[in-house]
Symmetry: C2
Amino acid sequence: MNEEAILDAIRPFTVGIGDDAALWQPSRSHRSAISSDMLVEDVDFTRNAMSLEDVGWRSMAANVSDLAAMGARPVLATVALGLPKETSLDEIRELYGGLARCAARSKLAIVGGDLSRAVALTIAITVVGEVRPSNVKTRAGGRPGDVLAVTGPLGAARAGLELTRQSAAIGDDLVVEALRAFRHPQPRDREGRFLAASANVAAMMDCSDGLSTDLSRLAAGCGCGAEVESVPVAPSARAFAEARGEDAARFALAGGEDFELIVAIRPRAFRHVAMRYVRRFNRELLRVGVLRSARGVIYEGTPLGRAGWDHFEG
Amino acid sequence: MNEEAILDAIRPFTVGIGDDAALWQPSRSHRSAISSDMLVEDVDFTRNAMSLEDVGWRSMAANVSDLAAMGARPVLATVALGLPKETSLDEIRELYGGLARCAARSKLAIVGGDLSRAVALTIAITVVGEVRPSNVKTRAGGRPGDVLAVTGPLGAARAGLELTRQSAAIGDDLVVEALRAFRHPQPRDREGRFLAASANVAAMMDCSDGLSTDLSRLAAGCGCGAEVESVPVAPSARAFAEARGEDAARFALAGGEDFELIVAIRPRAFRHVAMRYVRRFNRELLRVGVLRSARGVIYEGTPLGRAGWDHFEG
């Protein structure tokens, strides 16, 4: 049993599971977007690897990132917590502090939620946002020839996760970069809204399960395939991979939790969009490849397997 | 540590935890409402007491009920599931079947969600609804003298829960009534919208934690107290309590999960609202007491303690 099999089983009961967030229309001139995530201790996070403040931040960041991928501005969140018996009020405050600080960064309000006892600490967040109808981006708008780009270099969060388990012979500043990317990721909500406002941005999603997995989802959503031409690797990921004798690009391709956005942009507009992006954010919009009509994702001439995280496999 | 202590700890980080659902304004003429619930196996439900189809139905019903209590029409839901390793696809289909049937009853769409591994089966639902600004009801609108009423008799769900643990010498049809109330509760969303449309309905909430607990919350929300004059007891609850030698009214006062609505209605309008209610729903709107200026809830001349369910006590 894997995640796809479960999604197939529940699809008949649902409407449109498949994008980062779902959309509805509260009035003619508005679209709202909603996204939910559940995180379970020792499945989705461990306290060995990060503080509860970090757990809260990352949980909220993951939801904000899902809305960013639709071009939506996050407005509010609900938080349901499952708390083991031994949880202290100080621990709850620490966790909530992380949730609230990440929410404040995106100017969204935590408006309610629920509390239950649980065996393992469980955090279920729902974020709602607003988006102009003309700015909505899904995973389906791309077509062959569109340029694929990401909002930042990849792999640092994976390096950070692995550094919480084993040290590596890399510089201290790179360790800091990697741990920060893993524990305190910056969702790309401003970048998402900026890109969503361009008619030449055809499709968008976030890269939370690793570029190889998420790119194959984006390409499938667009009814086509993709070729990866180059992988922008974060300095800490490159150093970590090389210290272990691994290929840095393949390390970054398989690394999840980066929360960068993947966008498909009309080829004639790519240079212009990338130039405006760098002026606005002082960071580069990084070309990673192109959409193509043949199905599947290829890299260096061979098909790229999905290497990302699946809760239900193995 | 109890639930109130935890809520106090997280209140500084949040906006307006306290009503059944939170509200926001996607455009000038609209209000949206949102509510989240988390249910954990062996805490909030057990498979001994009900099927997974029932678990799904009740989980969705609890969320619909929260929106009903604000006068909102449910529009969509997200469902995040934490699944233990041994969960089969058939079990997931059964659970989702219950979720989807209850959602269909209220014409709401399940639009997305999340899947994670978990130690115990965990269901986190968020429901979003819409409500006309003029129809919004909170827990705060009542004032001394308002008549308190409930949308149906109470206690059947508690009798049903207890009947899953021990049999009682009551009629078979009463057993069926009680088990149905517990396993397959009917959220009062149509009743909630009907009552919300009346300017004479001053405050509303659902009665999911037992009338004694929820009435003290409603009265506190209105900045006043309440007197319980009479408790409408469901036939199965009366028979069950009497078979055990207990006072039926006090049994029903302490029984949670009934999902009836509690409303505060301007005294001069109560008869009129109740008459229109019975014509519309062919059931009675049942008077239970009045709001009064002195704090606390009294019944038969003595203060009524909170007897409802608290996850975090004991």
